[in-house]
Amino acid sequence: MLDRAQSPALTGLWAAKHTTMSAETDAERGRRFREAALPHLDDVYTLARYLLRDKADADDAVQECYLRALRHFDSYRGPAMKPWLLAILRNVCNAEFARRAAQRTTPADAPQEPVNDEPLWQEPQASPETELIRHCDGETIRRLVAALPPAFREAVVLRDINNLSYCDIAEVAGVPVGTVMSRLARARSMLRAAWNAEEGTAS
C-alpha cells in the first residue's frame, strides 16, 4: 500500500484530478451565474446611474454589485434574480453615500446626503388640476428624475424605468408595500410639479 504522502507522482495526479473537478464546478457555476445575472446588467446599471448620478461611480458600483452577487451566488435561493441584484446594488450605493458623507467633513450631527437634494420647487397643493402633461425630451425627464430626493427617486426609477412590481420594489428598498405606494405617489407628484415648471420656463 502506498501512502499518498510518500508518492509524489500520485499526489500530483490526485491534486490535478481534484483541481479539474472543482474547476468544472466553477465553470458550471459561472455559466449559471452568467445566464441568471447578466441579462439584468442594464437594469442594475440604470439604477446605479440614477442613484449615484455619476458615471464613474456607477461603473464601480455595478462591478462591486456583480462581485458580491457572484460571491453569494451559492447561497442564493430566490427571490427573483432582478430584485436580488438591485437590492445588492442599492446596498453598494448606500455604502458609497456613507463614504461621501464621511469625506465631506461636515459636522457629525448634520443630516446626510438628501439635504441638498430637496428640489427647488414646492409641490403645489392647491393649484388647479390640469390633465395636460406636455412633451418633454428624454434628457429633460432624466434631469427631473435625477433631481428627486433619493428615496423618491429610487421608487420612480424602480417602478417607471426598471418596471418592477410594488412587491419587488418593497423587497429592494426593504420597506413595506404601503410605504412603496405612498413614496411613489409623492414622487410622481413632485415629478409632475417639476415637469410643469419645466414647461413654464421652456416656453
Binding site: A16, T19, T20, A23, E24, D26, A27, E28, R29, G30, R31, F33, R34, E35, L38, P39, H40, L41, D42, D43, V44, Y45, T46, R49, D59, V62, Q63, Y66, L67, L70, E129, T130, E131, L132, I133, H135, C136, D137, G138, I141, R142, V145, R159, D160, I161, N162, N163, S165, Y166, M181, S182, L184, A185, R188, S189, L191, R192, W195
Partner: protein
Amino acid sequence: MNCSEAEILIHALLDNELDAGHACEVEAHISGCADCTKRLAAFRSMRQSMAEANLKEAAPLYLRERIEALVPAPSSAAATAASEAPAPRIAPWRISRRFFAGGFATGAVFSGAIAATLVVGVFRSDEDRLITGEVISAHMRSLQPGHLTDVETSDQHTVKPWFNGKLDMAPPVIDLTAQGFTLIGGRLDDVNGETAAAIVYRRRNHVINLFVARESGSGHETIASYNRHGFNVRQWTKDGLDFWAVSDINGAELDEFCQKLVAALTPAPSRS
C-alpha cells in the same frame, strides 16, 4: 373614499397593482371627482411620456466586459486545470480585420471592434455562431447614442422606400405596432461582411433589431434560437433572404415577434 386616499391609490390603479374590489372603489371615486379625473389623466400621460422616452441606461461595453471577466469562463478554466495548451481559436485581430473590411461608418468602427473582440471569445466553433456574434455586436453597436436609426419613423411606407438603391434586395418592412412591437425606423448595417438592412422595433423599453441580408447559402428553413450574453437571437431564411432578430427581451417575447413577423410575411390563403 376621499381625495387624499384616492391620490395614493390612483397610482396603484395606474400600475395595475389593485385587486378588483379596490380598483372599483377608486374608479367610483374618480368618476365622481373632477380633480381626481384630471389627476389620473395627467399621471397617465406622464407615465406614457416616460415609457416612450426610453430612460433606461445601457451599460457601456467596457463595463459589460469587465463584469464578464469576473465570471470564470468555462474554456479557460478547464484549459488551466488540465495544463493543456488552449484550444486553437480565431485571433481577435482576424475578426477585427473582417469588420474593418466590411466597411462601417467611421463612428461605428471603434465600438464595432470592441464588440467583436468581446464576442469572439465565445463564438469560435462554426460560421453560424460567428455570424450570431456579429449580429449581437451590430445590435450592441446600434444601441450607442445616435446609431440606432438612419431613418426614424413608425411609417412602414417611409422606411421601405428609404432602402431603395442602398441594397441589392428589397427588405420587407412590416409594421407590427398593433401587435405590440412598434416600428421605429431602419438603418444600413453589416452582417458577415455583407451590407444588410436593419429594421428597428421597440417593445416597451427594449429594442429589437431585425437584420435582413441576402441568403448566404447556409440557411435555416426553421427558426434557430441562440442566447448569448443575455441577448436572444432568432435566425431563419425565407424567400432568398436571411433574417436575424436580436434583442434583450425574453425568449418568449422574441419568439412571439418572429411568429407575428413570419405570419405577416406569409400571404394569407383566405381574406379573413
